[in-house]
Symmetry: C2
Subunit: 289 residues, 2 copies
C-alpha cells in the first residue's frame, strides 16, 4: 500500500467515524418535535394574574369537552370564582348554585384504546397503574389486562367535579395543583391539560385554611375574568402554543436519557424508573404574548 493510499484510507476512516458520531448523536440526542394545537379545542382562561392556555382532549372525553366548549361560548364561566382551592391538591371553580343550569354528563373516566393508538409507554408497574405513558402529551394510564386507558391526575390536568354519582358532573371543574392525586384516576373525567401558564394557576388564591387560622373570606376568591375558545379570540390576542410530540423516537430517547441520568451530577444513579407525572412535556410560544 502506498503512503497516499494510507492517507486516503485514514481520511476515509475519519469521515466514517464523524458520520457514525453524527448518527449516534441524532439517535441519542433529545431533540424536540413540535405539534400545533387545534384552536377550536384550546381554551384561553384569563385570571387577574395572567393568562392560561388549556388543551382539551375531545378524543378521550368527547361529551365533557363538547359541553365545556358550549358553556364557554355562552360566557357561562366569565366571572365564576375559584371557590375551593387547596394548596397541593386542587383549584376548583364553577358558578353559583342558582346559576348552574348545565346538564349532567355521563362520566368519561376511561376508554378502550384502539389498535395502534399513539401511546408512548413510560413506566410498567407504576404504583397506581400497570402501565403509564403519554397520549399526545397527556399523561395516561393503561391496563393491558382490562384493555382500558385513562388520563392520570398529574399536576396541571383539568377535570370535571361531580357529586357522589359518577354521572353527576356538569360544569364545575378543577385543576390539579400539587402532588398527583392518582387515587382519583378512573373515577373522574379528566378532559384537558394546562399547556401554558401553570405558574398563573399556582397564583390562584387558596381558600382552605388550617386549624387555628382565620377563614379566607369568599370576597378574596380568584375570579375567572374571561374564558374563551382560542379560535374565537381575535388573532392579535391569541396565544399560540405548540407542544412537544410524545409519540416518536425523539421523545422516546428523552425518556431513555431521563432514566439513565448520565450527567455527572448523578454521582450515584437513581432507580431506573420514571414517574409519568414528573416527566415534563414541553410547550413553546410561537407568538410572543
Amino acid at each position: 500500500m502506498t503512503k497516499i493510499q494510507m492517507n486516503i484510507n485514514r481520511r476515509y476512516f475519519k469521515l466514517v467515524c464523524v458520520f457514525i458520531a453524527v448518527i449516534m448523536s441524532h439517535l441519542t440526542m433529545a431533540k424536540t418535535q413540535w405539534r400545533s394545537l387545534d384552536p377550536n379545542n384550546t381554551v384561553l382562561m384569563t385570571l387577574p394574574y395572567g393568562k392560561v392556555v388549556i388543551e382539551l382532549a375531545p378524543n378521550v372525553a368527547p361529551k365533557h369537552v363538547a359541553q365545556f366548549k358550549k358553556l364557554i361560548k355562552q360566557g357561562f364561566y366569565n366571572g365564576n370564582k375559584f371557590y375551593r382551592v387547596i394548596d397541593g391538591f386542587v383549584a376548583q371553580a364553577g358558578p353559583d348554585a342558582r346559576h348552574d343550569s348545565a346538564a349532567k354528563l355521563k362520566i368519561e373516566s376511561e376508554w378502550t384504546p384502539t389498535k395502534n393508538w399513539p401511546f408512548m409507554p413510560v413506566q410498567k408497574n407504576d404504583l397506581f397503574a400497570a402501565q403509564t405513558g403519554f397520549l399526545n402529551g397527556f399523561p395516561t394510564g393503561y391496563s393491558a389486562e382490562e384493555n382500558k386507558a385513562w388520563l392520570t391526575h398529574c399536576p396541571g390536568m383539568l377535570a370535571m367535579a361531580r357529586g357522589n354519582s359518577p354521572d353527576s358532573g356538569s360544569s364545575h371543574f378543577y385543576f390539579t395543583i400539587g402532588q398527583a392525586p392518582r387515587y382519583l384516576d378512573r373515577i373522574m373525567t379528566v378532559f384537558g391539560r394546562v399547556v401554558y401558564g401553570m405558574n398563573t394557576i399556582q397564583a390562584i388564591k387558596r381558600t382552605a385554611t388550617i386549624e387555628g387560622e382565620p377563614e379566607v373570606s369568599p370576597k378574596f376568591n380568584t375570579p375567572i375574568l374571561a374564558m374563551q375558545i382560542m379560535g374565537d379570540v381575535p388573532k392579535a390576542e391569541q396565544i399560540i402554543v405548540e407542544v412537544e410530540r410524545t409519540n416518536n423516537t425523539d421523545f422516546k430517547n428523552k425518556l431513555v436519557n431521563r432514566i439513565a441520568r448520565k450527567s455527572a451530577f448523578f454521582y450515584k444513579k437513581p432507580p431506573k424508573v420514571l414517574d409519568v407525572c414528573q416527566v415534563p412535556v414541553l410547550s413553546r410560544l410561537v407568538n410572543n404574548k
Copy 2:
C-alpha cells in the same frame, strides 16, 4: 329466667354494644394528635407575600442543620434571592457568588436507622423505594435490605443544592414545589420541611421560561426579606405551629382510612396503595398570626 332478668340482660347487652361501638369508633376514627416544634430547630422565613415556617431535621442531617442555623443567625440569607425557580420543580435561593463564604458540607443524604426508630410505614414497593413512611412527620424512604433511610423529595421539602461533587453543598438551598422529584432521593441532603405557608412558597416568582417567551429579568426575583430562627424571634411575632404526630395508632388509622376510601364519593375504589408524597401531615396554628 324471669322477665326482669331478661330486661337486665338486654340492658347489659345494649351497654356492651354501645361500649364496643365507642371503642370501634375510637379505633377507626381519624383523630389528630399534635406535637409542638422546637423553636430552636424551626425557621421563620419572611417573603414579600407572607411568612413561612420550616421545621428542621437535626437528627437526620445534623451538619447541614447546624450550618444553616449558623448562617441564619449571621443574617447571611437576609436579602438573598430566589434565582432559580422552575414551576413544578424547585425554588432555589442563595447568595451572590462573591458573598458565598459558607463552608462545604459532607453530604447527609441517608442514614442507618437505629432499632425502634419511630417510623410509620406507608407503602411497600413504592416506585422509588422498597418502603415509604413517615419519621416525625417527614416523608421517608427505607430499604430494609440496605438498612438505610432517607428523607424523600415530596413537595415542601427543604434541601441543600450542590455542584457535581456530593460534598459540595454549602448555603444554596431549594424547596420542592411540584410533583416529587424522587430521582433526587439519596443523592441530596434534605434537611427540613415546610409546616406552614406552602401557599406563600408557591407565590415565589418563577424564573424559568419556555421557548419563545421573554426571559424574566433578575430584578423580579423574589427576595428573602428575613430568615430567622423562631426561638430568636420576639415572642409576639412568633408563629407557633404544631404538627400531626405520625408514629401512633391515630395516624395509622388515618392511613388505613385513606387507603380504604370508604366515602360514597368513591363509587369505585382506587388501588389499595398510598403515595407517601400525597398523604397530608396536618399543621395547626396555636397562636393567630
